[in-house]
């Protein structure tokens, strides 16, 4: 009962009184198999409702037709959009996507990577945890020849492939826009110091100001741990300066939400008394009344697509029988962020 056998290649072979290899080849339309045989096999397969057993194929071929995707958090629009891009691309290759959420917990991340490794995924796309500082579990993957493409949150490590977004372009556009509009005191609410993302923002911010002959003011640069309270406090500290900024650039949209709320509490009118520009992760600013002047867009969907594209180039090169081709070298793709104004 439990074991009412599903049709297999063997079954078809038996009924047709041919060998399993013939059936296998016929099903793959191997040219060496005669037309009639091929036809009969296909026909019977159809009748029996035969479907190849991928677990057997995976086992035999050492390929699972599955990629693993590990992201910090699916509930962030940035990541859920990215995974759409990944999933779409994988679908075109007839691949499935094994999903894991690290929830920014390095231990959990490690566990996920490991179970995906035992699943023998053909490749992985990973956006690391905020706190990942040990990359051993990633190195382990090379042992299994599992290619990995990092994405957005990438480790500080040489010889890896990744897709990320260059915050510089968008941020410089943002600064230019603000400066054009006459702003001279432009604040920055940055993220935690240990994040690369924070450093990038800070450096570009400094560069953008000095390029425009504005002397950066230490007091205008604050950090937030990205909790709501911290965001609010950072905003307050800026707005309560006796020489308060007339524009603020925030680490991301969530910070912007809190900043906007606090600014309003201070009786300020958004984008009039204080202009806000932030790094995009929300899809619905258009619906909000008090929204940033503009967002620095990072194109998560396209990034996801691109990461998949690179990953599949590895996967496909691996399975190419051509032994002579040398291994593909790592690729680092950096998208330019872009300033999108909210009208």
């Amino acid at each position: 009962m439990q074991r009412d056998k599903l049709p297999t290649i063997k079954e078809i072979a038996k009924r047709l009184k041919v060998s399993t290899s013939t059936v296998s080849r016929a099903l793959h339309n191997h040219p060496s198999i005669g037309y009639i045989t091929t036809y009969r096999v296909h026909k019977l397969a159809e009748e029996l409702g035969y479907e190849p057993n991928l677990t057997a194929i995976s086992f035999k071929q050492r390929k699972t037709y599955t990629i693993g995707v590990v992201l910090p958090n699916l509930s962030e629009a940035f990541f859920s959009t990215a995974i759409s891009g990944i999933e779409d691309f994988a679908a075109t290759k007839n691949y499935n996507v094994l999903l894991g959420q690290s929830l920014d917990d390095p231990e959990r991340e490690k566990r996920i990577i490991e179970t995906m490794k035992t699943h023998r995924v053909d490749g992985m796309i990973v956006s690391i945890t905020k706190n990942t500082d040990n990359y051993d579990h990633f190195d382990q993957l090379t042992k299994y020849h599992i290619p990995i493409v990092f994405f957005d949150r990438i480790p500080e490590k040489k010889d890896i492939s990744y897709v990320a977004c260059n915050l510089e372009s968008g941020l410089l556009q943002a600064l230019n826009l603000l400066i054009e509009q006459g702003h001279r005191k432009i604040g920055l609410i940055n993220g935690p110091d240990q994040l690369i993302a924070s450093n990038q923002r800070k450096e570009t911010y400094l560069k953008g100001l000095t390029d425009n002959n504005i002397k950066p003011d230490e007091k205008l640069m604050v950090s937030s741990s990205l909790s709501k309270e911290s965001n609010q406090q950072a905003t307050s500290s800026l707005l309560e300066l006796k020489d308060r900024p007339t524009a603020i650039i925030t680490f991301n949209d969530y910070v912007a939400l809190d900043a906007i709320a606090i600014a309003k509490k201070h009786g300020l009118v958004i984008n009039k008394d204080v202009s806000i520009i932030s790094f995009a992760n929300l899809p619905i600013w258009e619906y909000m009344d008090n929204r940033p002047l503009a967002s620095i867009e990072q194109f998560p969907y396209r990034q996801g697509e691109k990461a998949s594209e690179i990953l599949f180039s590895f996967i496909e090169s691996q399975s190419s029988t051509d032994e002579s081709t040398e291994p593909l070298s790592n690729q680092q793709i950096i998208f330019d962020s872009e300033l999108i104004k909210h009208l």
Copy 2:
């Protein structure tokens, strides 16, 4: 090079001059294996960095330790939250999650279901497409003894397991709240007629009104295809009635966003001139100035958890060797929605 062999049970056996069966048993701490042997096996396995090959195990055991999850759209907060619940639960069982997005395209849904079937997932959680009207691909799953739990968007079909949310409770609370506040002309912007979800809303709406001795007014009930334009048009049609509603209940938050925008264009003050209540799918109303008075919450995370729980009860009952236990019967769980006021 390509084939630098990974350590296997066989390798360990050879080195230790024992049989593979001994190694296998030792690794599982089988009681019949001597303490010393067990120890030596574990030690060598560790040294070699042995890791079980799940593809082989899946093949042999007819279990993949993977569940498939098919959702219409990950970029909707409702679903991305739900999948968190599913993923968390699966993780406790050491299961992986194979993800597919149907994007509300029945063809795509069918394809996903099929590839998951060939992957031999141990079970599936599915929220069907808006347009799914053929359930053959689901029936196919029973052939492979793949249990399936439907979730939120469930097919009209007997003998299935599902987890869904009873909209009635929350919607009645919403109506009561509005009526308490003195509203008598309460509009409904519903979704497409063919959706069960729309019918449920409509029926409950009618019931809520009549229970409160308010005679439903056909003109106050409109439908939207859920596109932005359609939402706007539906809202306008309500607001331009000479006897316009003083409160509107919308099909979901996205409709509410459009409705609010249009209401403002009509010069109305939200929740003063016209109160809005909607079915929740957005996480960030708290940041918005013009937000609904309240949302009808459907607890996606908990629903996802519950769906997983049911699914795993099936999965685990299947693998129980006890032949005598009769198959678990289907379960239908219905959560109560709840009205959450936005202060």
